[in-house]
Symmetry: D2
Subunit: 335 residues, 4 copies
């Protein structure tokens, strides 16, 4: 039988704080389509987390959260600058182009999926050409798909360059909690020129929910209609939003991510294979040859092989030290 324990952070169950709030708010009749008081409270909590006067919406899908955001920033004949390993470029089955009616994605280089400022500058220096999709937005992921964490000044360096050229900025924060646990202050986002950020709930321990944060409130006009048309405005909003209350009022959003990061650190310390990316968050990337990967599969561990050739092990809020030890033992026998 295959174990999904280290396959991803979305293979974990929901955290107790999220489930408790789901049950707690499952009472009485409320308004539909995000107009309920539970959703209003959750939005307040997210604003508090970010210390920002932003508009906040909640959607069930991270794919859609990011894609709707990009569609709000970029017209079909324009493009988004992002890292060449950004999830929106590599793993979304073309969702940004679907939601954005053909909008383009331009991949930039940089270590551990962090955009290299020089690469960005080069892309920004390209002149508009009516035969190509010129960039209208920059998308950054924090923490990145390869476990990189931007510091606030690194984000500022990139967004300042983008803003100077008239681009908008999107942040994919599917693992913002892990970045926060690694030292990135979410309260910094509001001063970094970000127009829309997606703050992740699902990977951090919620059933399925992502917050779309509109720092630029002029983008909010008719945003609910945008979400409704895109199938992202659930009638029973509280089931998306109660978990946010539970996770934020207890600080579990941050503490559960801190635990996940710690488990990855523990795994990294004992890892018998070569580690390919610095371990800052809940991911450990290693180099395994084909034979080793085959033995890993036979040992029953589901993992993902990434585009740079690395194999990823991922911890979550639900990863225990015992599970880490079990994996380490198995890896040592394979190595």
């Amino acid at each position: 039988m295959t174990s999904y324990d280290f396959a991803s952070d979305n293979t974990a169950p929901a955290a107790p704080e999220a489930m408790e709030a789901l049950a707690r708010f499952n009472t009485g009749f409320t308004a539909g389509y995000g107009n309920d008081t539970v959703t209003a409270q959750a939005a307040d909590k997210v604003r508090e987390l970010l210390d920002a006067d932003a508009d906040v919406r909640f959607v069930p899908s991270g794919t859609a959260a990011n894609s709707v955001a990009l569609a709000a920033l970029c017209r079909p004949f324009e493009a988004v600058l992002c890292h060449e390993h950004a999830h929106i470029l590599t793993d979304e089955a073309g969702a940004p182009g679907f939601f954005g009616h053909g909008l383009g994605l331009i991949g930039l280089t940089g270590p551990s999926a962090k955009v290299d400022p020089t690469a960005l500058d080069a892309a920004l220096a390209v002149e508009d050409d009516s035969h190509a999709q010129s960039p209208a937005a920059l998308s950054l992921t924090n923490a990145t798909e390869y476990g990189g964490v931007y510091r606030a000044e690194e984000v500022a360096r990139l967004t300042n360059a983008a803003k100077a050229k008239g681009l908008s900025v999107h942040v994919d924060g599917a693992r913002l909690a892990n970045a926060a646990a690694a030292g990135f202050d979410p309260k910094a986002l509001k001063n970094l020129g970000v127009d829309i950020a997606v703050v992740g709930g699902t990977k951090g321990g919620m059933p399925l929910s992502e917050a779309v944060v509109l720092f630029d409130k002029t983008l909010s006009r008719r945003f609910d209609a945008r979400l409704k048309q895109a199938g992202q405005l659930p009638s029973k909003g509280r089931f998306l939003t109660a978990p946010w209350i539970g996770m934020l009022e207890t600080n579990a959003w941050l503490e559960r991510a801190r635990h996940a990061n710690a488990m990855a650190a523990r795994l990294a310390e004992q890892m018998p294979f070569e580690i390919t990316h610095p371990v800052h968050i809940n991911t450990v990337f290693v180099l395994m040859d084909a034979a080793a990967r085959q033995r890993l599969i036979q040992a029953g561990w589901a993992t993902s092989r990434f585009s740079d050739g690395s194999t990823r092990f991922m911890c979550s809020w639900a990863t225990t030290p015992e599970l880490v030890e079990e994996l380490v033992a198995s890896l040592k026998s394979i190595a």
Copy 2:
């Protein structure tokens, strides 16, 4: 304070059977993106409900469920025949056109939002014209937006006509449970020429989940990629699907709908305003003039005014006899 008790069936909390299953299956690590065993069990339960060898997927949004289905049946330069009061035409902010890249919707007449066979025949008799979007699919809602319930032979009459012209058939079953409680056997669907049906979970008492049932399994190829691209393939599938297990293994899916229907019948019996559509399911439509509607609002009851001018009161699994009596008393004081 406004009461949403009769505003819709999506203002209710989730039913105990759904919540119990959510908690029950919230344990251990599972595969992501609908490949988990909870989802597999839920799909089996839906197949059992329909007594059909169909492919089943689960999505968080009814808007998307129907729109993705229509996009699978209809190209952008084609159209869907549906009732002029069909939800897909009147209340989805253009979602079918968004998911279907501009596909058209052609509204047909008929009482209580049931498509009149003669109107369908007339639409099917229109010759193809390259300046218009010719129909490629028929969409039926059962139960309808005005509380109508198709009998199996009525569906067959319509789908046979459509099939004879080469159209595909979609059924919006957001309230199929209510139709089932009113006498429509869900097991009949498989023999009625339906290509894709959406079977509702949300309105019947689940947090947020709809089942997309592919009777025509040739449509299943790459359907997960279709869902992924459309932001409808959640990573943590079990949170969409556990409630289906809870609701179906206990028969609550049907019994909770039966209760909702009964509450509407109880309301209808005592209704002091003129009822505008036969009461078969959990909806009661009445005629209220502007002054009465104003008094209703002042009395604190949220309701919806529909395109035919009716005001709708809607019961749900959570509606109690006491609540009905309270509403009746209020309405009598207003009338």
Copy 3:
């Protein structure tokens, strides 16, 4: 054999002034994609015609010209207000929804396809609703699909109301030349709050070319990329634009339309069938019963039956008095 002489104004050949210019400018090498000097001259001529400091582009398709314009003014979850008989709503196979990724069209009433100000006001008074596509643009056709001609003050009445609500304005001027010949001064457009107008070339005697006039020049940014992506930026631009020079420098654009209008007046004077719309431009709409239409078809005249039940006869720059007499004789024998 069927005669297409009165079927439409696009069944006519190209006017001599257009063909002469095509030949005249077919010499030497030029820049591609609308950057050639012929195109620049044509744009100057259009600006002169409209006495406006506007940006001007040329596209081969009227369908696309209008649809691209609407997509520039309206997002997918928004709608365009237009007459219920507007060409964009009735005859474009859903092109606005295709180019606009699902944008909606809301039909308004009014005589001879002119929008009734009261109907517009009612539509503008509808409050935003996230379940519906709220209007972002008003589209007017001048002259209309039923031969109506707006006076400048009538346009102003409508556009002022739209602008007051924050809507943008599009004018479909496929037959602006006919409207001009009927008394509407094209130079008035610049003061009427129009953001984008499409000025027709094809129906007026050019091979195939429409001018897209951007009065709001902020819309011009990356407009060529928009056109390129939409397949509307031909490499050999001069073949779209030389005819404009020929037709405008000789004043044929207006004079040929004046002739077409006069031929319709001549036809109307002798028309043995009831005329259903005032004859201001080159169209004559009449009431013919099924039997008469059958005899018309047998007599070999191709015509179109319109959504209000009228049968349309259409004159063009190429219609001669002799052809009119021939048709009249035939109609008299049929009546």
Copy 4:
């Protein structure tokens, strides 16, 4: 003043045979929207050219011709395999994604923009993954963007591999005439598993017209509605199609391309810069350093720099030996 003589083959005027036919068929009234007899004749001529019982449509834009074809073969959550230097991938401002609602393009390697069979096999061997756009079509360009010409057996090698995996096949034949003049028999296409081919008119000397050839006639159903919705069904069809009659009945389509190829050969023979791709058709690619390119621009020659770093000189039907000599002299002075 800048000379566009060698900038592209679309900077040339239209060939006499095309212009003669334009004038010849510009007489009398005809049916609209491609239902005219001129268009029927042109379609016959194209079928004769290809010796194929195919359906043929004509559109004004090559961008749209290819994009509409791909949209007919590929759903939004699928992808097209093409060369990494294919025009549809590099120069169309994302048109395939716009017409195909987000469909993906996967670039393959190979010399002179010809797809390497091994690269294709590798792409075809990738298993379907619901997080990625899996290939549904193969697109080949003949002659290629870098002047490569596929032989029939090379096409067959590629299309057989694609067909074996269930993919459809599209051929971009914008310069099929040049390929034909270089030895590729257009009559071979019908036996090579091609579903849709676009046969170029514009680059070969027509004003603006491309033929869309549907070898798979099941794709023809409602194709006119597809074109209409996409703004590619001009009302005055004969102006797109008369040039085809003129060019094909005189064999100018082929002979003019032969001349263009010959001019490129003449240029190549005397080229003082290093030639980077074999010269088979009307293109000469060379290596020029930045300083030389600067001198070229100062000398007034417009050219394009390509993604592989080459500078392209392009001949056309209108290129004369004298022009070639003039360019050679200039290049020699620069080198």
